[in-house]
Symmetry: C2
DNA sequence: ACCAGCACTTAAAGCGCTTTAATTTGTCCT
DNA sequence: AGGACAAATTAAAGCGCTTTAAGTGCTGGT
């Protein structure tokens, strides 16, 4: 009971100023003030100045909810991220700048261990996002396709079999291929690959390894060890190699953590890297840059992916594009200290 | 020119259904439908069922912008994060669950290298956040105090000198103290500290080191090396130690990356850890858990901090609390493999 | 029969803004 | 002075929802 509202601002704080307050202050209509504040041509220079001043004086800030409702446009791109993944952080950073350049804002929603993709996306829609940029979605293609009916979906970082969606990703097979080329160029022939399990991405990378090995006529040296996306998997794989009678001259892994597991196991066994064995990962995690690892790896080029994602969204929203587009970028080899010519 | 709007949904997609569409479908007013959908008591059970079914059939989803406007309540907590910091990721995860329990939603806004705190906070306010939960804010106390006039501010993870704000943080001095106690308990006396530079947090940790050393009567062994928050700083500090005539038996650092720098430098010099020297970090980063480091460190207890932050916000918003409150939690020692009794 | 009282339901007034059509003001020409 | 035309301004109608006061039917008591 008691009084009506229960939301109180505090200290001497007043209600937030509205357009009407600004208008009253300069003796104009809310329409004019709205025009000025949005930079729409029309109002005279004098009016413009006075309105801007009044708005600043009052600390006026537009209420997004109201303008969204009135204009039927939120100019909002909904971004689903997994906040635990460092690479997503980088993408978000670039998405922000790319979106700003084209006059859109971002609203972020994260999936976590206790909050699934579905919930995250619902939140984005509740905010009236005009398009959905999904970073590393794991939902099946048809679920994504259904979503696309509510708002254009741009899937980033993952291949989507045959749904009519926009996709922005890097060529994972090519990335592993570049690593193989790099190693072969250094003189390696016995190059093993530690797998990443069963996922679209893992499949592509594995294929990239196979293809590249064949291209170099190293069919007989193709050797794939079981693994997944963890450091532990790398360690297991390395132990298996150490048990064998002879070590390969190079080890490629599905991702950086796995490579670090390999590195750790080799170090414990007293095997020098890159002296005796070269090692490379994938993703260019912050991890791989640590000087104690200094891992050769492949970078996914966050900035370019972010730009393409935003462009795709804008084309859908403002340029009537309706046919889905897939943008496949070339990853970039990052040579650091864990690869060298074989002994 | 052309047709009016430029925002097009695609495929066979229709306009998103409104409350009115649901109402029409069951032959009721929008008022009743709104009541049912919000779980307000009143509507009959029969009505309830029919409305729920109709809403589900149409795929109706409430439009937050409209309900916020109409109800004058967004039930939104604005969270400013630095998306690059893994610890923030953990906090966000727990903030989500804590907020959900009390019927609030979260809107995230990140600061990045190219997007400052101010921008991030403006975004949160534009969404009409009712309270602002700022993770690791760096703005000066009076800036935060001003902000607090617009919406209650809860600063997380940082001590704020004497502004009238809510603060939730862990006792950094106590954390380092726990590490010193742990080491002294193992028999160490020569414990050096690698500093974190000039920041509120670094100051607290340094003080914690000094105080704890004195408490153990080790005033003469207090030794603080210059450093910052990076791995490189740890390496530099360790090299300095290696140049001296005798190594200390233990090294404490401002944070985990710095500790990893120390570890790397010691490893290169052939010094065994924890055999010859014990090392410990601070923050319990994902890094420190990697088996190749297995670093003893201090955990900040993300879950508890998140809960307190949400509670503080709710007290301000729904329970008329106006006096600021500071919640200081005890950090938790995490003993792993880099500390042991001295040789 | 009549009305009190209850359980439901709804009409209507906004929320703070945008947008369109209409109005006012100002300028320049004849 | 009068009118045509452009420039500047604004009235008013929503956007999709919530909320309050006002209904509408019932039931049952008398």
């Amino acid at each position: 009971m008691g009084n009506g509202g229960s939301a109180h601002h505090q200290n001497g704080a007043h209600k937030r100023p509205r357009l009407e307050d600004v208008a009253a202050r300069v003796g104009l209509s809310t329409a004019s003030v709205s025009l000025v504040l949005r930079g729409v041509p029309g109002p005279s220079e004098r009016t413009r100045q006075r309105v801007l001043k009044a708005a600043a004086d009052l600390g006026y800030q537009v209420d997004r909810t109201a303008s969204t409702l009135a204009s039927r446009r939120s100019r909002l791109l909904g971004v689903m991220v997994d906040i635990h993944r460092p690479f997503h952080a980088e993408l978000v950073e670039h998405l922000h700048t790319a979106a700003e350049e084209v006059g859109y804002d971002l609203v972020l929603s994260t999936q976590t261990r206790t909050r699934d993709e579905h919930t995250a996306v619902e939140t984005l829609l509740a905010f009236r996002s005009e398009a959905l940029i999904l970073l590393g979605p794991t939902a099946p293609a048809d679920t994504l396709a259904t979503l696309d009916n509510k708002a254009p979906v741009i899937a980033v970082g993952r291949r989507i079999s045959d749904a009519a969606l926009d996709v922005v990703r890097t060529a994972d097979d090519d990335g592993v291929g570049q690593l193989v080329d790099h190693l072969v160029g250094l003189g390696h022939r016995e190059i093993v690959y530690v797998d990443g399990g069963k996922g679209v991405i893992a499949t592509d990378r594995r294929r990239g390894y196979r293809t590249a090995m064949r291209r170099h006529g190293l069919d007989d040296h193709i050797r794939i060890l079981h693994g997944d996306h963890t450091e532990a998997a790398g360690e297991r794989a390395a132990r298996k190699l150490l048990e064998g009678d002879s070590l390969p001259t190079a080890v490629l892994t599905y991702n950086d953590p796995s490579a670090i597991g390999v590195l750790a196991a080799l170090a414990r066994a007293g095997v020098s890297v890159p002296g005796e064995v070269s090692v490379a990962g994938y993703d260019d995690d912050a991890l791989s840059r640590l000087s104690c690892f200094n891992l050769t790896t492949v970078s996914q080029n966050a900035e370019e992916q972010a730009r393409h994602a935003v462009t795709a969204a804008v084309e859908r929203l403002d340029q009537d594009r309706t046919e889905p587009r897939e943008v496949v970028l070339a990853p970039r080899l990052v040579v650091r200290g864990t690869t060298a010519a074989p002994a």
